[in-house]
Symmetry: none
Subunit: 397 residues, 2 copies
């Protein structure tokens, strides 16, 4: 009779999400790329396909990350604003209304001259917009270039209001309530007053930024953290505010890494180093890599392929020695042929002790479809990881 050694120690895991990694068609950038490290993990791991939300649903990056990182993409989703605000470093409170915001240039009629104010903006301009109107505080935080986060804090507010940003050419819009509630009416009204004040204040500075435009209103409500859901400690390495924000929303620590930009110039090696050096104090490290998605949006097949090869060499190559699990996947496909997110499922692989090594030889869209994980959903991934690293939850006895 064999008694197995008791193994209830915890293992570590690194989750790599390559934004927009996968594609459509016969020869995809991922299938064409030379990716010896990813292929090594595929050969020695278990592979599958994953729908971040569900088959046929085209995920935004926000909802996809929320699901993959262990949240409920429908019930926990607060809209984009709170993620951007959290990622931008604002500590949110229950009931706060948060927005993505950006400095823009308008003429006297509030017709948009440049939605991005020549990509200008600063902490000074953002702080100049801090104010209180009718008992509601407005907090503006500059993040990158023309981008900010805006938070409205006070009683009786609603996120059911429309965007001020016209999302294109034309005039600045008036925010309107999206339901019949008094809260929505009041919030829209206060926001319109704030935008007017932003124009008056910013016009006194000699910069292209002369108004602040908002979109993606969302109310912050605290949801259970990953620690509360699974018991493990986790951290995030990401360049862009959105991904840091989703991570923070789920209670992950956010580690700032010099050179992690969220662009094609990002320092992938520095991200790998940050992961490996910080993982000691954690159970799960999540790293987000943005640029494959951007190349997909640009329709740049070759650029996408080349960047995937960089991920393979500079990031995955460094992680391979990790004592623990490596999970490699994407949040959604961004096919270069359509230059937008698509619902095509993403490849996913799990490498580490004890996984059922299937017959997949290569990390690409079609090969992973033949793998041992089958086709799973975003919400399935974190419980699977939790079980491997010993933080499983049992249902029943």
């Amino acid at each position: 009779m064999i008694f197995m050694a008791e193994m209830d120690e915890h293992k570590r895991a690194v989750l790599v999400i390559c934004d927009g990694l996968s594609d459509r068609g016969k020869l995809t950038p991922l299938s064409a790329a030379e990716t010896p490290n990813m292929d090594y993990l595929a050969r020695n791991g278990i592979c599958g396909l994953m729908d971040a939300i569900s088959p046929g649903v085209v995920p935004g990056s926000d909802t996809a990350h929320l699901a993959i990182l262990g949240g409920d993409p429908y019930n926990d989703y607060p809209g984009r604003g709170p993620f951007e605000a959290l990622g931008g470093g604002i500590e949110l409170e229950e009931g706060d209304i948060a927005f993505r915001a950006n400095f823009a240039t308008v003429d006297r009629d509030w017709t948009i001259l440049d939605r991005r104010a020549r990509r200008s903006g600063s902490r000074e301009l953002a702080e100049a917009l801090g104010m209180e109107i009718d008992g509601v505080r407005f907090i503006v935080k500059h993040t990158t270039e023309h981008r900010c986060a805006l938070v409205m804090r006070g009683r009786g507010l609603s996120s059911a209001i429309s965007d001020v940003d016209p999302h294109g050419p034309g005039r600045v819009l008036e925010s309107k309530p999206l339901d019949e509630s008094e809260e929505a009416r009041r919030t829209a009204d206060l926001l319109n007053k704030f935008v007017k004040r932003s124009y008056e204040i910013l016009s006194e500075y000699q910069t292209p930024a002369n108004i602040l435009l908002t979109r993606g209103a969302g109310m912050f409500r605290r949801v259970p953290s990953l620690k509360e859901r699974y018991g493990f400690r986790s951290f995030c390495v990401a360049g862009s505010a959105l991904y840091k924000g989703v991570a923070k929303f789920l209670g992950m620590d956010v580690i700032e890494v010099e050179g992690a930009t969220g662009s094609v110039d990002t320092d992938l090696g520095a991200k790998a180093d940050a992961l490996l050096s910080r993982i000691e104090g954690y159970d799960l490290g999540f790293v987000h890599v943005k640029a494959a998605d951007s190349r997909g949006h640009d329709g740049d097949w070759e650029g996408k392929k080349v960047f995937i090869e960089r991920i393979d060499e500079e990031l995955i190559g460094k992680l391979i020695g990790l004592d623990g699990y490596i999970i490699l996947t994407a949040d959604h496909s961004t096919p270069v042929s359509i230059r937008r997110h698509s619902s095509d499922p993403v490849p996913v692989l799990i490498h580490g002790e004890g996984v059922r090594v299937d017959r997949v030889e290569r990390f690409d869209e079609v090969s992973c479809g033949e793998g041992g994980l089958g086709r799973i959903r975003g919400v399935d991934l974190m419980p699977i990881i939790a079980d491997y690293i010993g933080y499983y939850r049992m249902y029943g006895v």
Copy 2:
């Protein structure tokens, strides 16, 4: 460097549902059939398995089509009656109670002599049964042979009533309320009065049809159309009332095709021609083919195989040149060994621009199980099609 052409135009799709196509066992009629056209699509497309409802649930043709055509098989399902009535050409109103009905022959004691009245029936007989009882209108529409649709229209009705049709030998049943409501009691009572009147009226005609039996009571409630759900225009080509009814229920246009009978003598070429000639004004054309299911119910392995070969040659062969997507699947399996629907998932394939071409070489139950779609559900199919043809919906940003 490759830049792909921008593609936000809409494409067209043809959805072919072969009723009861798939089977159980090692050598199925589908795997044994010579199907060069289906196999061509499989080799150059993406394949998978699909559970119309969910694994292990044996679908009716009505619920399966409701799910596959984009409805919610649980929340939208009104029971069989409304589908038959819509498919039979009755314009239903909110709150109508609709039934499948059939002329039968009974003796003076209402013992069934022939449940199908020697397959006789006519428009004249159906119209003779139009009446009003206690403020409720009874509308009868003859469809084929002994078959009719019956609609009760009026206030305060309920579909929670039992069938009059005994579904076998014996006496005609009294309809009974299935819950405690006053509406159910009243509806059953009115229906029983109507059946009694049908016997009195029909007995005056010298035909085998001397009573009208009802089953499948359902209340009609409007649900969002495919156009409202996805934004695209769709039409249906089918021989049998049920499938036209489900299509109409979901807001599809129903195109009548000479020779589309829903039987083994159906003119498959005429259906293909109708699809191809009408697709111009639409985004999605759906064609239903019935007879493989009937052969399954008959336990006729050879007949099923031969009919599948006809589908391949006469229908699929004509569609292959289509500029757009071809989706080929079934609503459920009807194994010849058990002569009923089963929960075995159905094969599904999608052929068209940009699909991830997997390694499946043949369109059959086992080969498709190795395909790149994995195992999806009926409700997943329409969102997947919508994304391919450019009517995707994004969840999140």
